[in-house]
């Protein structure tokens, strides 16, 4: 096999909203199913290489195919294996070829195709996809290079643009705001009120982020001490919360209490005990845990859930503003890959073309008298050489990698080099 005879193909399913739920579930690939799918696709000889990217939002089969109608043949295989209706399966899929297939992978790796724009998890998933394919002996030089390039592009996009920088989730935004007041949190104290789902999540993230001291208080003390034990925090008696406030630099409200649990007077007293050192309140509870007037106390900063969601919205816009720069980087890396791949394709195409002409020439020469053949051979070669000279020169010197690839494709098709 040479790359010249093969095309990059991508058959994918977006598992976001839309499409029937059952189909989404059945087209998702677990790790084992991914291996099995790679095995089956290769077994049928549909592709020479393949890698499957499976995340919660997408199933994508990348391949290097040399046969006809790879889309239908891969879809048929999946439909047969999974017992899915062929029409439904192809109807809900999308298909890309050549540079577009590679571009899609680069976008996925950069987080441009993710629901949370710029999220970084997908980069690891792309890496895993390549590793699984390699272990299953399904990927070789081309897809290996394509996936490595996509990962490199994804990394560049995340370090050189701000597409992954502004946090989108409420806890991480809250945490970032707190560090905007206190700087490093590794010598500060954080108090979480409420050991329910939100409070536990926040406390756990705070411990993981290296906050020096994480205190947890809950109305029923067992839950607080359970949580504290589990994540390595310190439990605080519910009744001791007002007196503990002075020790806390950051207070997170996440109780289900119908009335505010942090009162203006308590914060006022705490601030006096702190000699005015700033305090930061993150109120994640509905209804509020922190009396609104707390925000009026000198050197106290208070954010509610609405504020944090406003910041999330703003951060989404900021990430979106980075899309053009991210795409610039992506095209640069894509160009580099396609240039490499294109060169793989150009040389065999040229040889293929020359071989084809030689066959035609010899067939014609066999029909004329032997003594004249030499003369006609020279004549035919001269015409073929002159005719091909300019197109081939242009093809070789084409600077745009994806256009080069298209032209190679066109030549292969027009001269029927891929019988």
């Amino acid at each position: 096999m040479s790359a010249g005879e093969a095309r990059l193909v991508l058959l994918g399913w977006s598992l976001r909203a839309g499409g029937s739920r059952s189909l989404r579930e059945r087209i998702a690939f677990s790790a084992d199913e991914t291996r099995e799918a790679l095995e089956r696709i290769r077994g049928k000889g549909l592709v020479t290489e393949s890698v499957i990217v499976a995340t919660c939002h997408r199933s994508e089969i990348y391949g290097l195919a040399d046969g006809e109608t790879p889309r239908e043949r891969i879809a048929a295989l999946i439909s047969e294996w999974r017992g899915l209706d062929f029409a439904e399966l192809t109807g809900s899929s999308f298909y890309r070829e050549g540079a577009d297939a590679a571009r899609h992978l680069f976008r996925v790796a950069s987080g441009l195709d993710s629901m949370a724009l710029g999220e970084s998890e997908v980069l690891g998933q792309v890496r895993t996809a390549l590793r699984v394919a390699r272990e299953a002996n399904a990927s070789r030089a081309v897809l290996h290079r394509m996936f490595e390039s996509a990962v490199a592009a994804g990394k560049r996009v995340r370090t050189e643009t701000e597409i992954a920088r502004h946090p989108l989730s409420v806890p991480s935004i809250g945490f970032e705001l707190a560090t905007k007041v206190f700087g490093s949190m590794d010598d500060h104290t954080l108090l979480v009120l409420g050991a329910g789902e939100t409070g536990a999540l926040f406390a756990e993230q705070a411990v993981a982020a290296g906050v020096a001291r994480v205190l947890v208080a809950n109305r029923s003390p067992e839950r607080a001490s359970d949580l504290a034990r589990r994540i390595g925090a310190t439990a605080v008696e519910w009744n001791a919360v007002p007196s503990t406030l002075a020790e806390a630099d950051v207070v997170v409200g996440a109780t289900a209490s119908p009335v505010p649990v942090v009162r203006h007077a308590d914060v006022d007293a705490a601030m006096r005990a702190r000699r005015g050192r700033p305090m930061f309140f993150l109120d994640l509870a509905v209804p509020r845990d922190v009396e609104p007037s707390v925000a009026d106390i000198y050197n106290v900063y208070a954010y509610g859930l609405d504020d944090l969601e406003g910041v999330a919205e703003e951060n989404r816009r900021r990430r979106a503003r980075e899309i053009p720069r991210a795409e610039g980087i992506l095209e640069e890396e894509l160009g580099r890959f396609l240039g490499w791949f294109g060169n793989l394709a150009v040389v065999p195409t040229l040889t293929g073309l020359q071989e084809k002409l030689a066959t035609l020439r010899d067939a014609e020469l066999s029909r004329i008298p032997a003594e004249e053949r030499e003369r006609f051979r020279a004549f035919a070669d001269a015409i073929a050489g002159k005719l091909l000279h300019e197109p081939l020169r242009r093809l070789k010197s084409e600077p745009d990698a994806s256009r080069k690839l298209d032209r190679v494709e066109a030549i292969r098709h027009l001269f029927d080099l891929d019988e």
Partner: protein
């Protein structure tokens, strides 16, 4: 040397550093970020040679004249910027601090050195130290002024829940507050020392110590002393920043108005 070629070259370096600092502030991390300190460092070297040439021409310390003292003030401030950068890796203050360096250096170069009439007693190491320390203190207060403005901007953005470009780039409030505290403490200590040296030295040269500039220096000490005191007693935060801005107002007033109009014997001319 009349033309101050090196001095203007230094100004050019500072301007380039400012441009680089602004670009790297807007664009976030970038390869350019390392260029600003190099440019400021180069400017400081050129600037220093220019100050030495001025000193040579005056046959005295370069800050004998008002121009020389302003230029020297700019030099000290540039040094403070480098210190912040190297010691605290604090980049975001650059674009706000360097303009003061540029302004002071350029003004210092533009003010003419009056035909130096060597005042009696305006030489000697005590005098030199007195003036050097005073100018260092002013540079520290100028730094505190810039930090305080940034503190107020950052605090306001946090309070209004509006996060502009600056919000992401400026250091955390407590970091700015800590730098500010250090800066004021240094300024206060150095100004006190300068004042003591000055009084010690003036006692021998002057008939009376009741001098307007001395009085204003005491007012400056009082404002910044009050600032540090209240910083520990619950004013940490925006109020301290406002006090620092007021304090710098007093410094500018005594440097300009008092220096030029009220204090004849005790001024840079």
């Amino acid at each position: 040397m009349g033309a101050h070629v090196l001095g203007w070259l230094a100004v050019a370096c500072y301007c380039a550093a400012e441009a680089v600092a602004i670009v790297s502030l807007v664009r976030g991390r970038g390869a350019l970020a390392h260029l600003a300190p190099v440019l400021v460092g180069g400017g400081l070297v050129l600037h220093f040679v220019d100050l030495m040439q001025r000193a040579h021409a005056l046959g005295s310390v370069p800050y004998r004249t008002l121009g020389g003292s302003v230029s020297f003030f700019g030099w000290m401030l540039g040094l403070a910027y480098l210190f912040l950068l190297i010691r605290h890796r604090e980049r975001a203050t650059g674009p706000f601090l360097i303009p003061f360096v540029i302004l002071a250096t350029a003004v210092g170069l533009l003010l003419p050195d009056a035909a130096a009439a060597p005042g009696e007693g305006l030489h000697g190491s005590v005098f030199a130290l007195h003036v050097t320390l005073a100018i260092l203190a002013y540079a520290a207060f100028a730094l505190s002024f810039v930090l305080s403005v940034l503190y107020l901007v950052q605090s306001r953005q946090l309070r209004q829940k509006r996060q502009g470009l600056l919000f992401a780039r400026l250091p955390p409030l407590e970091v700015i507050a800590r730098l500010n505290r250090t800066s004021v403490t240094v300024g206060l200590a150095v100004l006190t020392l300068s004042l003591v040296l000055g009084l010690f030295w003036a006692e021998k040269v002057w008939p009376s110590l009741a001098d307007p500039k001395v009085v204003w220096a005491l007012v400056t000490l009082a404002v910044y002393g009050f600032l540090l005191w209240m910083d520990r007693r619950g004013w940490e935060g925006p109020r301290v920043a406002v006090l620092s801005i007021l304090g710098f107002g007093v410094v500018i007033f005594s440097y300009t108005v008092v220096n030029l109009y009220f204090s004849h014997a005790h001024s840079f001319r």
